[in-house]
């Protein structure tokens, strides 16, 4: 035979990779079994994957509602040795089960961090300086009729309390310092390399901050950590920025604190039950609302493609993963 066989592409399970260029880049390199285009129910799809002549050793999944990688899932596809999550969060992956079975896990690392930090800073400026609200005023033709727009408040000297000083929190603090903000933070342990003032609890952080920023992951410990008590500690001149996950804040308490003027404003990119946003917020001029888009730029999408393929290539060639979560 003179013709050579094309290389056998390793089988890859795929859940919820929508973007066309990304999808195409993966299909070029792997034999992709795509759940969402299969049209089958989950257990049928997994059974068929497990029965494939080259059953999948790797899985690419987006976060959130795309798939839950739990014990039942792992039982259904015993060939799986590596899970790559394209989302920032890992709450849809049972890390304990993966560790028990020796399944490696990697995530998108820091591909989103810069854009999320930039969006958070943009929202903070918007809330303090009333950019979106002033924009509405102009677009409604009110400037010639009502004269000067009400004053905002200065960024310089404001104490910004960041919950979670990971990649995103660190990038935010570097940016905000250039605006003259003072950085305070809370995290599980104080960070040696950082000179910002540490607070052991979110309540204490809120009581000495003018702006409270949620920049941590969602976990059992952080669910509703920003509660009524914390909002009261933040106080009537305080504002909240959430670019973490909706459930980190008790949303009902936040809405009533805003409605009653017990806090001064909020910038929210995430909500407890997306895409539902509490309707009470729509009539408020002191809040800025975005549709969970802080991470998504053309640049982070391109970085994500590189990170996904980089980690998959490392796994399939037996090299160390680029951004491993497990093994630790």
């Amino acid at each position: 035979m003179t013709s050579s066989e094309p290389p056998v592409l390793p089988t890859l399970l795929m859940f919820r990779v929508r973007e066309l260029r990304f999808h195409a880049a993966l299909r070029e390199r792997y034999h992709v079994l795509d759940f969402f285009t299969s049209g089958e129910p989950l257990h049928g799809f997994l059974a068929a994957a497990a029965a494939d002549p080259d059953p999948p050793r790797a899985l690419v999944a987006a976060g959130g509602d795309s798939v839950s990688v739990d014990a039942a899932f792992l039982d259904a596809v015993p060939s799986l040795r590596f899970v790559f999550s394209t989302g920032a969060g890992l709450d849809h992956i049972d890390l304990g089960e993966c560790a028990r079975r020796g399944v490696a896990v990697a995530n998108s690392g820091t591909v989103y961090s810069t854009d999320v930090a930039d969006h958070a800073v943009g929202m903070l400026v918007d809330v303090l300086r009333r950019v979106s609200a002033a924009e509405r005023f102009v677009r409604r033709g009110l400037w010639p009729l009502q004269g000067d727009y009400p004053l905002g408040t200065k960024l310089g000297g404001k104490r910004v309390g960041i919950i979670g000083l990971g990649n995103i929190g660190s990038l935010m603090s570097k940016r905000l310092e250039a605006f003259g903000c003072v950085i305070h933070y809370n995290s599980r342990k104080p960070k040696e390399s950082v000179s910002y003032r540490y607070f052991a609890t979110v309540h204490d952080l809120a009581s000495e901050s003018d702006v409270l920023v949620v920049a941590c992951a969602l976990s059992k410990e952080t669910r509703h950590v920003v509660n009524r008590d914390v909002l009261d500690a933040l106080g009537k001149d305080g504002i909240v920025i959430n670019i973490g996950r909706g459930p980190i804040i008790d949303e009902a308490e936040l809405v009533s604190a805003l409605a009653e003027g017990r806090i001064a404003g909020a910038g929210l990119d995430v909500f407890e039950k997306e895409p539902k946003v509490p309707a009470e917020l729509f009539s408020m001029d002191n809040v800025v609302l975005t549709h969970h888009c802080a991470a998504f730029t053309k640049e982070s999408r391109s970085d994500l493609r590189d990170a996904t393929i980089g980690n998959l290539e490392a796994f399939f060639s037996g090299k160390p993963l680029l951004t491993p979560v497990l093994p630790r």
Binding site: R18, G64, D65, T114, D115, A117, D118, H119, V121, G122, M123, V125, D126, R129, R130, V131, S132, A134, E135, R136, F137, V138, R139, G141, W143, P144, G147, D148, Y149, L151, G152, T153, K154, L155, G156, K174, R175, E177, A178, F179, G180, E274, P275, V277, F282, V288, L289, T290, H291, H292, C293, F296, T297, K298, E299, S300, R301
Partner: protein, 315 residues
Amino acid sequence: MESLGVLLLYPVNAYLEQELDRRCRLYRFWESPREEFLRAHAGAVRAVVGNANYGADAALIDALPALEIVASFSVGIDRVDLAKCRERGIRVTNTPDVLTDDVADLAVGLAIAVLRRIPQADRYVRAGLWKSRGDYTLTTRFSGKRVGIIGLGRIGQAVARRVEAFDCPVNYHQRTEQKSVYPNYTYYPTVVELASNSDVLVVACPLNASTRHIVSREVMETLGPKGVLINVGRGPHVDEPEMVAALADGRLGGAGLDVFEDEPNVPEALLGMDNVVLVPHVGSGTYETRKAMADLVLGNLEAHVLSKPLLTPVV
């Protein structure tokens, strides 16, 4: 300074007005028709307080024979006839420094707002259009964009320091290069070359005869379909009709505007555009800064009355 007759041209700030009323002899220019006011009080006015939009022009100065000082509640004094003031020996003061941070904060905030489409996202959510998760269009990253600043004065430098924290390379244009002072910033001898090498162009220079329409059609076309113009200077820095056309055709990618050629009137066409962020001259619009500006106006008037050196003289 109870005997100082002060003419306030416009209700610029409640605290300032209250203090002028308490400490001086205050006349409010908007309370009666101009000619009637001048007939009755022109001779008593020794000081004029205006702002960015209301200044002491030649006609007003000529009508006030006892005028000694113009203390503007603004840093830009393009509405004050400086030549006439020099001729008459009238002092002029402004409010530099105290508003530098606010204006720079807004400039950067506008750039992020335009590139990341924050007000647009807010409109989308408020209109009830967010129907499913993952429903977003990709915007473009702000960090790392090349920022070109026209005028590296106080405000320009403050903008530069902020964007450096976002890893943005800083380019600038002004009358002279100052390489030893700004070794990390790249100088361009013309605004067109600055625009050609920048993704975001920020206007931060004073308005005068040589900077009027400094952002021309050619500059905007060079900045291009992905370029963003940020104007926190004065409306007349930009050729406004050309800008509106360039934005409409996509020859200019976007704009964040705090100032307009004919405030408070904003070109109708801009009001329907999605690639612009429009705010009503709020550059110095914070409680803290407006109080500091008011105190500076009062401090200058007091120094004048006590024959002490003025705090922030322009003339």
